[in-house]
């Protein structure tokens, strides 16, 4: 039920934010109860882009269902595909060749950088500056070009399949990634000059939307949003998959728990991803890019669960198999859904203008929430 928009007998004002609002980045609908300018309640109404992906997957085979998942968190398309490939590989005990593992991790980290860059640009735009958006898109564009060459797509890549990757990397891949690394290092100081050190942005983010670590845990908040509160939750560190346990990188933690801490986590996380890419780009082993698998995949009867770290947090894929060619039931534990659930808790008592900073630093992607 959508409440009556207007004034309550107590003099509180009920307004809509979204579903078409620039700061909601898509079709998120929030019904907000205001007392003056102070937020009393935030109530999300979801489903504007709900496609029932879970139901759809029940009639798709283990090779087909991966393609639908690129459309959930479209900014982490590779990582979504990765999670699905991993769960099928776990069920069938497929050994992934070393070359494919390295390519997968490279793609994941490039995706993470691209996703955080888009977030950085749109976050600054939410808070009123248009220029950073162009700076972010300049770097992101060069990642998109790399993706386009190797995967044939810029957004919904569909590159990872059970057993490895769908095709080998493009001959230009290494050269282009190195050019990107150079570009990134040349330009990264601009990010700090434009936004991080900017007093206006700092004032709008510091002390706004504080998440306590125990609340983050209870609400199931994961990813950079939780790490800004000092909660260690990086799946790549806690439950390493592929070759993450052999790589040298840090889990980025901040302790303040406010919007600025979440901002800093993502800025520093980009640098960690760059560090991972640098370690791997010259060390892609020779060999197959895909393991030999049967034409028809059938997961043995049972339950399977895998989790990966997307740019937004912990993505879990839960499959119940009855031994057939399609999943009996599939559940995507999407990071955005849980991260959104804390919004009401942190927004109560703050000013309406601060809501934009909170939503921005939670990094909500609506198709990921609605699925």
């Amino acid at each position: 039920m959508i409440e009556e928009i207007g004034t309550t007998p107590e003099g509180e004002l009920i307004i809509n934010v979204g579903p078409q609002h620039p700061s909601t980045h898509g079709v998120l609908h929030l019904v907000i109860t205001l007392s003056g300018e102070t937020i009393r309640k935030v109530e999300p109404h979801l489903g504007y882009i709900h496609r029932s992906i879970e139901k759809m997957c029940e009639s798709l085979t283990y090779r087909q269902f991966i393609y639908v998942t690129s459309r959930m968190d479209y900014l982490s398309a590779h990582i979504n595909n990765h999670a699905c490939a991993l769960v099928v590989e776990k069920g069938l005990q497929i050994e992934v060749p070393a070359r494919a593992q390295v390519i997968r991790v490279l793609m994941d980290e490039l995706t993470r950088v691209a996703s955080h860059e888009l977030w950085w640009g749109s976050m600054a735009m939410d808070l009123g500056a248009f220029t950073p958006f162009f700076h972010a898109f300049r770097e992101r564009e060069s990642i998109n070009e790399i993706m386009e060459e190797t995967c044939g797509a810029r957004l919904t890549m569909n590159y990872m399949v059970p057993g490895g990757v769908v095709q080998d990397i493009h001959p230009n891949f290494q050269k282009k990634v190195k050019a990107f690394l150079q570009l990134y290092k040349l330009k990264i100081h601009e990010y700090d000059e434009l936004v991080t050190g900017n007093i206006i942005f700092q004032n709008r983010m510091k002390g706004v939307g504080i998440i306590k670590p125990e609340d983050a845990l209870s609400y199931g908040v994961t990813g950079p949003a939780a790490r800004g509160s000092g909660l260690s939750c990086d799946v790549r560190k806690i439950y390493p998959y592929e070759i993450y346990d052999k790589l040298d990188f840090e889990e980025v933690l901040e302790t303040a728990g406010d919007s600025f801490a979440r901002y800093m986590v993502r800025i520093r996380e980009m640098q960690q991803s760059i560090r991972i890419i640098e370690q791997l780009i010259d060390n892609i082993p020779e060999g197959d890019f895909q393991a030999k698998t049967k034409a028809v995949l059938k997961l043995p009867k049972g339950d399977y669960y895998t989790r990966v770290e997307t740019a937004r947090g912990e993505l879990g894929v839960y499959i119940v198999s009855e031994g057939g060619t399609t999943p009996y039931r599939i559940k995507f534990r999407s990071p955005g859904f849980s991260n959104l659930s804390i919004l009401d808790h942190i927004a109560r008592g703050s000013k309406l203008g601060d809501l934009v900073a909170m939503m921005g630093t939670l990094d909500l992607v609506i198709p990921d929430i609605d699925r």
Binding site: S52, L217, E314, R329, F337
Partner: protein
């Protein structure tokens, strides 16, 4: 805590529970009436401390529904799964949203998609589906919608 150790501890906590063989994590099957007390113990017992409910969902087995709770302890690093069998015609279970706040949204999703009624839930309403979908549960196996569903 290792799986075996965990199993001993949990069967002492609830002797009526049965354990499922196989699977990656220890899987415990309990009755709906035992669930609220067990859930409370799983969270508050200092040696268990399952403080992170990382997945909450439901599976429709046609004859019955099964609630599936994936729990993890950030303190100790152990994981477990709890399964609760519910009656398909009248599925009712106590909420755990007072213990793990993330359950509030996840239970609302299960409520609309499977029609499970969560007792004492603070705000049990449709979350994703629009008005008028009460009582129609799209993720149930017997759900048919000739307009919106395309069969290949």
């Amino acid at each position: 805590m290792q799986q075996e150790e965990l199993k001993i501890k949990l069967s002492a906590l609830l002797p009526a529970a049965t354990f499922e063989e196989g699977g990656e994590w220890l899987t415990m099957q309990v009755e709906p009436t035992d669930w609220p007390a067990l859930a409370n113990n799983l969270l508050t017992e200092p040696t268990l401390n399952f403080n992170f409910l990382f997945c909450l969902t439901c599976v429709d087995w046609k004859t019955h529904l099964t609630m599936v709770y994936h729990l993890s302890s950030r303190t100790f690093g152990h994981n477990m799964v709890v399964k609760v069998k519910l009656d398909a015609a009248k599925p009712v279970i106590a909420t755990v949203s007072d213990l793990w706040r993330t359950a509030e949204f996840h239970e609302r999703e299960v409520y609309e998609m499977f029609g499970v009624n969560f007792l004492n839930h603070p705000d049990l309403r449709l979350l994703i589906l629009p008005d008028g979908w009460e009582g129609k549960n799209p993720l149930r196996k017997d759900f048919v919608d000739p307009i919106n569903m395309i069969k290949l």
